[in-house]
Structure formats: C-alpha cells, structure tokens
Subunit: 196 residues, 2 copies
C-alpha cells in the first residue's frame, strides 16, 4: 500500500527492525526530510556526523548505513535509483524562510511538520536533528565550501529503499522549501514492506 | 590568563554574552572539538545544520555566526588566523576508534572527554551534537562527496576568536584522534576576555 504525503506536510510512523521503507518521488524533483528515533528510547536519534564519518563520504547511497548518535546502525540504504541525497542541513523552518528567503509571514516548514508529526510520540522540537534529506541535491564547492541547493536529480517515480536495523519511529515530509524542489511544491509517496 | 587543555582531554566553562573566547593552537596542527549550550536552557545547542544553511557555506570563518537548533546566534567568529574548520563530524569516540581505526581497546576520545566535562552541568552523552571542530581540516570532493581528514592548516600560536552572542556553557577538547592532528597528540590553549 502506497501512502501519500501531501505537499508541504509531514507524517510519522513506526518501522520495525527488518522492514523496508520505500520513498518514492512521484512527480520528480521533490525532497523528503527524514528523521529517525530508537522506538525503545527516543533519546537515540539519527546522526549525520556519525554517519558521514563512518562512510567517509558526505553523500550516502546504496550500501551505506545511517548511524545513531550512539554509533548504532539505524537504517541501511538497500536500493537507490537516485543516488544523491543531503545529510548536512536541518529541516526548513519559519526561521529558514525568514533568514534565507526574507519572508514576512513564513510557513512553518518541514521543521513545523516534523514537530506536529512527532508530538504524539513525545518527541519535542529540540530533538529534531540534521535530517537525512532524501533526494535533496546540495552541491559543495571543494575550495570555498560554498553550498548550492539545486533541483533534485530524482525523476518521476524514482525511489530509494531503506531497511530498518532497529525498531524505529520515523518522521518524513514533503518538503516545503522552494529551493529544494525547484519552487514546485509536490507530494512524496512511501511504502512499508516486510523483508522478503 | 591562558588555560591549557592537556593532550587527549577536555574542559567546560561558562562564557557570558559579549565575552571573547580565543582558541590557540600552541604547537600547530591540532584540533579542538567545541560544543555550546544556552546556559539558561541546555536543550538549546549548537546546530551545524542551521549554521551551514544560513551561511551558505560548509566552512565557516571570520564574520560567520554559529546558530543554535532554535536558529538563534550563539557564537560569532570575530577573528580567524587559520580560516579552515570542520562542522560536519561528531566528536571522536570509542566507536570511532573501533570502526575507523580498528582499535581493540579504544580510547574514549573527545566524546568521552566532552561527556565528563559536561556532566557537572547536567548535560548528558546524548546531548552532544556534531561539534564545531576548530582547526580541523576536512577536504570534501565535490563530485563523490568523499571526505579526507587532513592535517590542520594551523601553525604554532595561531588563533581563532569567538564572541558569545548569549550566555553559554562551552565544552572543548584537545582532540584525541590521530587523523585530526597528524598523529601527534598535542594540547590546546584558550583564553576568555571581556569585550573591549
């Protein structure tokens, strides 16, 4: 069963160890901010710094492991039709839209959507870390370190599949930031399957 | 007064709004992992993801602001003789030495030193985020995203100066990871001054 995350919204759900999470970009060039917590102890969360260090790469893809802040594997990327994601930026928020876009009456962004989705699990706003931004295309200049948020490489229907390495609470969005999706706010689809 | 952080150790202290923190590399090619918390509410902490997003650059230097997870300025870099630091990796830890270096009986690393230094402030191990790694030189390949930890660019006696933008609890280390300091474990010096 495919679930749809409508434009500029988010959701949260449990993903059991061994289950597969397939994230699909139904229309292409959209981003999904993904965060994860140990279902047994939500103080354990997805850590960009640990994952990048152990992979030796900023950009993770098939075969790479997303580690927790306690250096325990949380998710493994088992299939990846897109091959480019970001793990350096926090979810867009009221402040992002105020500081970067200059919006006077800013949208609450992925941060607000993740906060609302995670509240029923007792996970508060301060516990939302740097997200694994599925399909997000951030170019980095090797010399200056300058970053540019480019349109995602994902084409309509392309997917990335994650396997849960522990029992997790996952929250995901259909991204609210124009730069991330080429200013066409689109939905994100996902599916949960038991391992074959 | 200059304080010395001995090799492979750490310390924590309060830094009041407006005070200047000068971090000195006395022997050159050493790294100091730095984390910061709002002294009034330690759930507010230094956020690599927010800071990189707002700066539009992975590598921060003079004039750049280190933001909290709540998008509030915590520290501003007001002087920087080195110009290259890392904000993508978590502190080295028992697990770092086990996973990356293959150590059988690993050192507790900067993570352990930060945990010990922060315990008196009621800040626990899970609250230690991706650090601002002063003088750490991480090269990033634009295409593959591959990272390489290179010897720091800091020469003996060079410094970077931060100004506190709010009342803070700071923890800092003299880094324990061989890759970060060219396998010569050295001390780090720091000084606190009131604004002129």
């Amino acid at each position: 069963m495919t679930n749809r995350i409508p434009p500029r919204s988010g959701t949260a759900f449990e993903l059991k160890k061994g289950q597969l999470l397939t994230v699909v970009d139904p229309e292409g060039e959209q981003v999904s901010d993904l965060v994860a917590y140990n279902a047994e102890d939500t103080r354990e969360y997805l850590s960009s710094g640990r994952s990048i260090d152990y992979a030796g790469r900023m950009f993770l893809t098939t075969g790479d492991i997303l580690y927790s802040n306690r250096s325990v594997p949380m998710l493994k990327i088992v299939e990846d039709e897109v091959g480019r994601h970001d793990f350096s930026l926090t979810p867009c928020s009221r402040d992002t839209f105020r500081i970067i876009y200059g919006d006077k009456d800013p949208h609450h962004g992925c941060q607000g959507n993740l906060e609302n989705a995670l509240a029923p699990y007792g996970i508060g706003p301060d516990a939302i870390p740097t997200a694994f931004n599925v399909f997000m295309h951030v170019a980095v200049d090797s010399d200056s370190g300058e970053i540019k948020v480019l349109p995602p490489k994902s084409k309509p229907g392309q997917k990335t599949v994650f396997r849960a390495e522990m029992d997790l609470i996952i929250a995901m969005t259909a991204c609210s930031a124009g730069q991330s999706n080429n200013f066409r706010y689109k939905p994100i689809d996902f599916r949960i399957d038991n391992a074959a």
